[in-house]
């Protein structure tokens, strides 16, 4: 199934992706950001917070935004 994935880390990009049916938001995160901790990110599905075992649906919009971004001077 297809969903829209918006990654606000680094350059920030939005793209459509295919994922297998039954993928939970927690598995999706682990798959996309294997070296990161979910608690360091704001994960939203269709602009709403969801529990980690939420099963992704076709056409869902998944947004991952870091909660720690280093500014500069």
């Amino acid at each position: 199934m297809r969903l829209l994935y918006i990654n606000n880390s680094g350059g920030g990009f939005a793209d459509y992706l295919d994922v297998t049916d039954g993928t939970t938001v927690s598995q999706f995160f682990k798959d996309k950001m294997p070296h990161e901790r979910p608690e360091d990110y704001l994960i939203r599905v269709n602009r709403q917070p969801v529990p980690r075992d939420y099963v992704l649906q076709a056409n869902d919009r998944v947004t991952i935004t870091p909660t720690k971004i280093e500014g500069a001077a």
Binding site: N8, G10, G11, I69, E70, G71, A72
Partner: protein
């Protein structure tokens, strides 16, 4: 914002995004025109060169070659600027309902979201922010919709400190990464721009909040360690890191108005640790103050000491030398006296 206002604001945001899109095309057109102008100049020089050569005008041919060379130098720069503008991903302006959804999400994510009609600005207030035990208060992120189309030249949003606790030495710095209400986005810059271009308002404000709630010690306007400044141990003046000096003996912080500098070795001293030369009264550090007059033992700086003596003792010593010399007389007088002694009779008995 109620639903009616929300839709109205969404409409304004949509128009601002259309203007942003238009401004991007305008920049492309301007850059393309610059490139085309440079190219036309090159074509012109090519014609001139052909004419000059056909008539054996070698000086003119040389001028054409030089002009063409200058144009060629500019073309790669112009082409690269143009290419980066053309490569920028095409961003669709989202529909009204999508923007309205963004505004609803924003209201769920943040406690205070409002639209300032006078300034045409979407305002979002963060929670109170504390970094490394320094409370910086709440911040309002103000996105000026009219400035959105200028976002490649200047920031379209401001960061207002609602309960400001600025750096001790610069009231314009209300956060380690905010100066004059402008956030230095650091590693968040590209993602923030992308979110704004695509009208992802909730992502934009969330990322700005993420920067505000994170401290990057490697690149702040003012490090949090110096946020409250370092007071001068003598006058209490608050100094920033670049201006703070430390006494080389006791280590106390000292400002440039109160510090003393050892006249001999240049060490920085506070008034408590500084000794002074007994003659010129210039400051001296502990080590340099060990230099004393060999006679009276008064502390002396290097420039006041001569032959191991302070000027007073030196003068005295010279006076004594003169007296001795006077007492002993000049060698000629002595010789004469000796001669006279030899010629005079010595009384006996």
């Amino acid at each position: 914002m109620n639903d009616k206002e929300l839709v109205r604001v969404a409409g304004r945001v949509q128009r601002a995004l259309e203007q942003l899109r238009k401004s991007r095309y305008m920049r492309c057109a301007a850059q393309l025109s610059l490139f085309a102008g440079a190219w036309q100049d090159l074509v012109r020089q090519s014609h001139r060169l052909v004419v000059a050569v056909s008539r054996d005008w070698f000086a003119a041919a040389e001028r054409s070659c030089k002009s063409a060379g200058r144009q060629l130098d500019e073309i790669p720069f112009l082409a690269s600027n143009l290419q980066s503008l053309l490569d920028r991903r095409h961003r669709e302006v989202p529909g009204l309902s999508v923007i309205a959804d963004e505004l609803r999400a924003l209201q769920q994510e943040f406690d205070e979201v409002e639209f300032n009609h006078q300034q045409k600005a979407l305002c979002v207030t963060t929670e109170s922010i504390t970094l490394e035990d320094i409370s910086l208060g709440r911040f309002q992120v103000v996105l000026h919709l009219d400035d959105l189309n200028q976002m490649y030249q200047r920031s379209p949003y401001r960061i207002l400190a609602l309960e400001p606790n600025p750096a001790a030495n610069d009231s314009a710095i209300t956060h380690p990464h905010v100066s004059n209400e402008v956030l230095c986005e650091g590693e968040g810059g590209a993602a923030i721009r992308a979110a704004l271009e695509e009208g992802r308002l909730a992502d934009f404000f969330s990322m700005v909040r993420s920067i505000l709630t994170t401290y990057n010690p490697d690149s702040p306007y003012v490090p949090l360690a110096d946020w409250d400044g370092t007071p001068c141990s003598e006058c209490g003046y608050l100094m920033d890191r670049e201006n703070v000096g430390y006494c080389s003996e006791c280590g106390d912080a000292i400002c440039d108005q109160c510090d003393r500098v050892c006249i001999d070795c240049g060490e920085l001293l506070c008034s408590h640790c500084a000794r002074e030369c007994g003659i010129c009264e210039q400051p001296l550090c502990r080590t340099c103050a060990k230099r004393r007059c060999a006679h009276c033992e008064s502390i002396c700086c290097q420039s006041c000491l001569e032959d191991g003596l302070c000027p007073n003792c030196k003068e005295e010593s010279e006076d004594q030398d003169d007296d001795t010399d006077n007492a002993e007389g000049t060698p000629e007088e002595t010789d004469q006296a000796q001669d006279a002694g030899q010629s005079q009779p010595v009384p006996v008995g």
